[in-house]
Amino acid sequence: MKRIVLSLLSTLSAVVLLFGYRTSTSGPDLAATTGSSTTQTLVRSGGTTTTGDVAQTRWGPVQVQISTDADGTITDVQVVQYPDGNHEDQEINAYALPVLVDATLAAQSADIDMVSGATITSEGYVQSLQSALDQAPA
């Protein structure tokens, strides 16, 4: 049962994030943010089933349905409508050939965000470039 609840919660958070809402684990709040055309249906247990608006995302339309019990606890999340596009497609080959840099150039001058190197271990990390980047102020 615990596993089911966890899986439900992760589905919910995925759907919420896909919508681009601020994180919310409360059903009624989510319903409130889905807009005026949100429909609510009373269900047997005294809870409600709420169907959100169709949200247009980068990958196509998404619509979710959330069921809550009388306490407002989410009991079910259904995705009514999925995007039909596969967003992974956009990422295929979204990289270029490596660009060779002047061998005498110090790493600090190369304007890099991350480092790819041969098996940087925890022992070697302290002296690594990646360590320096990780400590850079945001």
């Binding site: 990289y95 050939l97 965000d113 790819s116 041969a118 990646q130 990780d134 945001a138």
Partner: protein, 254 residues
């Protein structure tokens, strides 16, 4: 290019530093922290199953014959299948079994980080770059987001980079001897590569970037030719310091 604020986090899992860089909407809020916690937990779970340093791990017990594959979590079969595919495609230079010892570490790392990145992909309007001991998964949320600039470490001087690769969506893996002598050998001969210092592969997913970088490195002087034949993109740094780009438009270089 405008400067974009980047939030960074580090944890050590599986004996490796795990580095995360986030840009965009969720960099330091509850959603970002949850996604990071999930990513780290995924790696810890993988370590519990696959670590060859833990005698009680599933893989250690499988290797000693105390467990059947059927008794293992399904991801063990998945990893071994990937290892077998890599063995065949590298003509045996890559092998998860050497001298009777089962060591799928060469498969697990990239595969595990790709799994860990799933939690980060759920962060809306957020770019991330997740690195694990020098291998990375990168993602940008929108068409206008700048690419992540990934420096490829100089295998002869870890304070320098030999190349930079811009990545908007994809993975970068580097295999070599730096930091850990004799880590990769040709499984057919046990020989440590002598003519190649490091191999970097840029690919759609880290599972195959990592497998191909490791296999190419084990293939030693055949590395660049093998990667080219597979249509891969990357960089081979030779032991003498020469750099060889691999890819569709690559031309011979210094």
């Amino acid at each position: 290019m405008t400067t974009v604020a980047t939030a960074r986090r580090v944890e050590h899992v599986m004996g490796m530093p795990i580095s995360l860089a986030l840009r965009g909407r969720h960099t330091d809020d509850a959603a970002a922290r949850d996604a990071w916690a999930q990513a780290v937990e995924t790696l810890r779970d993988v370590d519990r199953v696959f670590s060859t340093y833990r005698p009680d791990s599933v893989v250690s017990r499988l290797g000693r014959g105390e467990l059947d594959l059927a008794d293992c979590p399904p991801e063990v079969a998945e990893v071994l299948a990937l290892g077998e595919a890599a063995r065949v495609q590298s003509h045996g230079a890559f092998d998860v079994r050497r001298g009777g010892v089962l060591d799928p570490s060469g498969v697990v790392k990239g595969w595990a980080v790709e799994r860990a990145a799933v939690a980060l992909r759920r962060l809306s309007e957020t770019d991330f770059s997740l690195g694990a001991g020098g291998d990375l998964v990168c993602h940008v949320a929108g068409p206008d987001s700048p690419p992540w600039r990934v420096g490829i470490e100089d295998p002869h001087d870890p304070t320098r980079v030999v190349a930079v690769v811009p990545v908007r969506g994809g993975a970068v893996a580097t295999s070599g001897l730096a930091h850990r002598g004799g880590h990769v050998v040709d499984a057919r001969t046990g020989a440590v590569p002598a003519s190649v210092a490091s191999v970097t592969v840029v690919h759609d997913d880290l599972t195959w970037a990592d497998l191909d970088a490791t296999a190419a490195f084990a293939l030693d002087h055949e590395a660049a030719a093998w990667l080219t034949a597979r249509g891969r993109v990357g960089l081979v740094v030779r032991a003498d310091g020469r750099r060889e780009l691999v890819g569709p438009a690559a031309t011979p270089h210094d």
